[in-house]
Symmetry: C2
Subunit: 296 residues, 2 copies
C-alpha cells in the first residue's frame, strides 16, 4: 500500500496572473519611455464556438496588459488566396508585431501553407518550421504557447529537471514533440532524460511509471491512473477535452488526461484542469508578442 503524501497544486491561474502583471508593467514602462506598444493581430475564420472563445480570450488578455490588438474576421467561405493575401499584408504591416491564425481552418484551406506564409519573426504562435527548427537546435525562437507555458510553470515552482526522467505522453506537433524537444535541451528547465510515448507504445504503464515528471498530452480524459504514477512524481496535465455536463451554463466542462482525484495524492506537484496549463497558453502568446517588439 502506498501512503498518500502531501502534494502541491500548480496554480496556473495564479502564475498566469503574476506574469500578466509583469508584462503590463513592462508595457507601461515602454509607454512611458515612448517605445512602441506591442500589437497582436488574430485572424479568425468562420464561427466555431471553441475558436471564438479562444480568440475572445486572447483579445481580452491583450487589453489587460495594455497591448494593442486587432481581430480580423473572415467567413467560412474565404479562399486560401484571400487568406494568404491577408497574411502577406500583416507580414508587411510595421505596426503589427506578431499575429496568429486561429486553427483549425476550413478543410479547403491548407493550414500548413498558411503557417509557412507567416513571417517567422511575427509567428508568435511558434508554428512556423523556422521556429520549430531553431527551438529544436537550441537557438532563440518563438516557442509555441503550450510547451512554453509548461516550462514556465516548472520554472516558477522551481521544479528540478536536470537528469530527471521526463515522460511525455503524446506526440502532437503542438505539444508532445515540442515539449519533449525543450525538456532535453541543455538549459533550465530541461537537461532531462526524455521519453516520448504514444498510441503505439508497448507497456505504456510501465514506461509512464518511470517518469519523475509526466506530461500528459494525449487528449483522452482520465487516461492516466494512479497505478501509472511513481510516488513523488510531478504531473503536468495538458488534456482539455470538453465533456458534457449538466451543471454548467455552457453544458460542458473541461476534463484533463489525468484522473486527478486518485493521482494527486501520489504526486509532489500536479496541475489541475482547468486552472493548470490552460491559463498559461495565452500568457505565452503575450510573452512572444512582447519578445517580437523587443527583437525589432
Amino acid at each position: 500500500m502506498i501512503e498518500a503524501q502531501s502534494f502541491q497544486i500548480i496554480d496556473g491561474k495564479h502564475i498566469a496572473d503574476v506574469i500578466k502583471s509583469e508584462i503590463a508593467a513592462e508595457v507601461a514602462l515602454r509607454r512611458k519611455s515612448g517605445k512602441k506598444i506591442p500589437h497582436l493581430a488574430a485572424i479568425l475564420v468562420g464561427h466555431d464556438g471553441g475558436s471564438e472563445t479562444y480568440v475572445a480570450h486572447k483579445v481580452k488578455s491583450c487589453e489587460q496588459v495594455g497591448f494593442k490588438s486587432t481581430l480580423i474576421r473572415f467567413e467560412e467561405e474565404v479562399t486560401e488566396e484571400e487568406l494568404l493575401g491577408k497574411v502577406a499584408a500583416l507580414n508587411q504591416d510595421p505596426d503589427i508585431d506578431g499575429f496568429i491564425v486561429q486553427l483549425p481552418l476550413p478543410a479547403h484551406i491548407s493550414e500548413q501553407k498558411i503557417i509557412e506564409a507567416i513571417d517567422y519573426r511575427k509567428d508568435v504562435d511558434g508554428f512556423h518550421p523556422v521556429n520549430v527548427g531553431r527551438s529544436s537546435i537550441g537557438l532563440p525562437a518563438f516557442v509555441s504557447a503550450t510547451p512554453a507555458g509548461i516550462l514556465e510553470l516548472l520554472r516558477r515552482y522551481n521544479i528540478q529537471t536536470s537528469g530527471k526522467h521526463c515522460v511525455v505522453i503524446g506526440r502532437s506537433n503542438i505539444v508532445g514533440k515540442p515539449v519533449a524537444s525543450l525538456m532535453m535541451q541543455k538549459s533550465y528547465p530541461g537537461d532531462a532524460t526524455v521519453t516520448v510515448c504514444h498510441s503505439r507504445t508497448h507497456n505504456l504503464s510501465e514506461i509512464i511509471r518511470q517518469g519523475d515528471i509526466v506530461i500528459a498530452a494525449l487528449g483522452r480524459p482520465g487516461f492516466v491512473k494512479a497505478d501509472m504514477i511513481k510516488p513523488g512524481a510531478v504531473v503536468i496535465d495538458v488534456g482539455t477535452t470538453r465533456v458534457p455536463c449538466s451543471e454548467t451554463k455552457s453544458g460542458y466542462r473541461l476534463k484533463g488526461d489525468v484522473a486527478f482525484d486518485e493521482v494527486a495524492p501520489k504526486c509532489s506537484y500536479i496541475t489541475p484542469v482547468p486552472g493548470g496549463v490552460g491559463p498559461m497558453t495565452i500568457v505565452s502568446l503575450l510573452k512572444n508578442t512582447l519578445l517580437a517588439v523587443q527583437n525589432k
Copy 2:
C-alpha cells in the same frame, strides 16, 4: 549467464554500394531522357585533415553516380562576408541543385549564420532550421545525412520499429535530436517509443537496457558495454572517434561508441565501425541532391 546468440552484422558498406547503383541508374535514366543531371557543390574552408577527407569522399561519390560536382575552396582567412557572398551566389545559380558548407568553420565565422543563409531548397545537408522544423513536424524535408542513413539501414534490413523502445544516447543537433525526432514519427521506420539520454541522465545503464533499438551517438569510444544491452537488441553505432593506431598507414583508426566484441553476441543486429553508419552518410547526401533536382 546469458547465452550468445547468432547476430547479424548490418553491412553499411554493402547497402551504400547498392544505393549508389540505384542512384547511378536513376541518373543514367535522367541523362537518357534529357533531364538535368544533379549537381552538388561543396564549400571547403581551410585545410583540416578530416574535412579534406570527407569532402574528397563526397566529390568522388558524386563522380561514381554520375552527378556533376563542384568543389569551392577558401583559405582559413576568408571573411564571413565573402562566404555569405558565395552562399548567395550558389543559392541563385540554377545549375547548382544542392550544396554543402563543410563544417567545422574557423572560429571567426558563425556556422549558424552560414547555415541559415543557405536556401533551404538547396540545403542537402539538412541543417537549415526550415528542414529541421519540417522534418520534426512530419513534413517532407531534407533530413541530415547521419539520421537519414540510420533509418535507411533499418529499412533495408526490414527491422521492425513500430512500438519498439528506441533509446538514443546523445542529443547532438546533427545526430541525437534528429534521429529521435524521426523515430517517433508515424511512419516506417518510426512509430517507436523514443528515449533520449545524455551526459546528465541518471541510471544510464538501466535506461539503455530497455532499448529494443539502441542508437549510440555520444562520441565516447567503447562506452556501451555488454551489460547495458538487452539480449536481442538492435545496436546502431554512430561513434567515429579517431584513436591512435600504429598498424595503419594514417596512424589512426576509427573506433565506435560500442564495445563491439562483447556487445555483438547479445544483439540481433549490430553495425560495425567502420563499415556501418559511416558509408551511409554520403549516400544520404547524394539522395538529397537527387531529391533536390526532382523537386524542381
